[in-house]
Symmetry: C2
Subunit: 414 residues, 2 copies
Amino acid sequence: MARSWLSISPGSPFSLANIPFGIISTQANPLHRPAIAIGDLALDLDKFASNGGFSELPSISQHLAVFSEPTLNDFAALGRNIHHDVRTYIQQILQEDGKYPAVLKDNPQLRDQALLPLPSVQNHLPLKVGDYTDFYVGLNHAYNVGVLFRGPDNALQPNYKHLPIIENPTATPKVPILRPSRKLDIELELAAFVCKPNELGDPIRIDRADEHIFGFVLMNDWSARDVQYWEYVPLGPFTSKNFGTTISPWVVLTDALEPFRTRSRVEDSQHRDGVLPYLREKRADTAYDIRFQVAIQPAGLGADGREIFCTGNARDLLFSFPQLVTHHTVTGCNLNTGDLLASGTISGVKLGTFGSFLEATKNGKEPLALKNGETRTFLQDGDGIIITGAAGNEGHYVGFGECAGVILPVVTYE
Amino acid sequence: MARSWLSISPGSPFSLANIPFGIISTQANPLHRPAIAIGDLALDLDKFASNGGFSELPSISQHLAVFSEPTLNDFAALGRNIHHDVRTYIQQILQEDGKYPAVLKDNPQLRDQALLPLPSVQNHLPLKVGDYTDFYVGLNHAYNVGVLFRGPDNALQPNYKHLPIIENPTATPKVPILRPSRKLDIELELAAFVCKPNELGDPIRIDRADEHIFGFVLMNDWSARDVQYWEYVPLGPFTSKNFGTTISPWVVLTDALEPFRTRSRVEDSQHRDGVLPYLREKRADTAYDIRFQVAIQPAGLGADGREIFCTGNARDLLFSFPQLVTHHTVTGCNLNTGDLLASGTISGVKLGTFGSFLEATKNGKEPLALKNGETRTFLQDGDGIIITGAAGNEGHYVGFGECAGVILPVVTYE
């Protein structure tokens, strides 16, 4: 595998094999602008492009303006082929003995201007998010929650393996009161940004769905379970989830994950035979081997106080992202650049692999013991949750950076 | 009540008391631009503004650019006070013996350029729609559907009167197939566009919610009931509703409906006492007396073949639009200019007042007889649905124009 002329630590999520895209600003330049992450540096693409950085890539020459935009939407809208060209070109520029050393490697002035230490850059929302659809294709999570609320015999609804859906635990409503959630939870998810739009009335066929997926981010779909139980029937979630969602700062392009295609490990004959024809895929390796880790940093502790809440893998998703795109549009519904499609909670089958406290503590009945002696049923004020994820091996990780958030005390409403 | 120097038929939905805003284009000028409707004319606000039409309204002078925009988002974002000034000013301009006759009344050249016959203008989406939330606060519809799926004893979920929610009929899933819907339905709804945004984390208090509502449109939330039953459990609706939604072309400003405030006619003590404190309103007249009519134009017939499917009234909504805004944001969720909040289906209590075929035909069990001898359980290819609505009395109607759509044959997917 190729090495870079930059020194990149073997453990970095941003190896030469990755080249994820994001939006940054710095104290020296508060302008929001595109960048890629490489090792512990960010390459400022605005600065890079405006100083002839792309001079050896003719196919992008008439599109250089996208690198001066405050979001990645215009770059995403250029389509998969351009994304491929730009990512490959940047790999060549950064690669030891790569092409065009004069562009950056042997151009100390541009290096000084365009290569910024990651700790010195502020990340911003990479795309202006359009519509947002959260699916529920983590089979184990669906089963685990189903057991909690309907028992093992009815854990999965009969339609579960036929169509991508989400969960709606049945509840016993009481007279409601407004108070801070006592069951604040997380959901470990993988999400995809749409690049290529489709016209209203023009469904995206399963064999073309890949072209519409710009790339991926980690997601934490914060959930107030007590509110959710109350409002969920018959609505489905609303205010229990609309207060905030966190994504990781760098978009890992679909191309970067190609080498890590694999089969879902939760698919079975019932799924393969039961899935509707318009969702059937030619290839079997439509999942990704992406390993996740969710850490909790208890209130009052520093980063050294972090401990692992769970690990996970994207192979535990039953449906592929192309299937989500095709199902979303089979009615003619149009997707737009910047729309975000999330997987739903990703869980394994045993404690330590559950992507939510709901599962890990059996809805609060079995508290988790933390190293600092405290216990948790759900999150407490001051708790930090840090989701990381990566494919590949040491020296060549394709990672996402941190999807991190801290729970602040509620602001009294009345 | 004031009269206009323009001749306006007494039956026009666009009386001087209305002045609804929309986006138009014409064959002569394909540019999308703002306009208001008055009688059977549209006043081109781009032409009007660029020819000194607003010269007597200083408060708008630095904002005239909003009238050259292809959507009303920028105008909406100016806030309720500016909306009030502009609407009142236009009323004065159009009013018999009104102020500033030189601006338009005695300016034949500008009249010729800016006043366009409605049949000659093409309407376009009035605002770029941001997020869209469909509620379910039509109490009678909730009860009617509840009876159909759960029986009269459990028609309404215990939480129904406490929070604005939507419906999720229980279903008995079978192995699915992909085919054109055989239960294509309508939903008569009223929807509000958001003007003033709120910051993430900054809930909108109930006593300030009015400031965030730009105005109202009629909505038809087309629904494929057979698909809905299949996917609804446990998801709630997705592909059964994401294929299309129709709204009326002119936005009736919140100010124009002020005179028609009234009490909800479905509220009761259980609602008044059970509603959460953050949703309690000082005034009781938080509903609107808006009368609706839904007409069906059977396949193959012209406009003279239309017949009334149902009538309705916005007084049948249990929650007010300010309550929807406040509930949506009580978690800190942010609303943006152009977000659309819909009421859910509006129904009365007897045949002829049901806002959906689901209710009117008891889920297809009791077909409706049409004048042309045909029957309908749900919609057929070629059927047209035309929703109209108005407040006020002859000569002074505050109406919405037509929310109209025609069912085209399905395009075979495979």
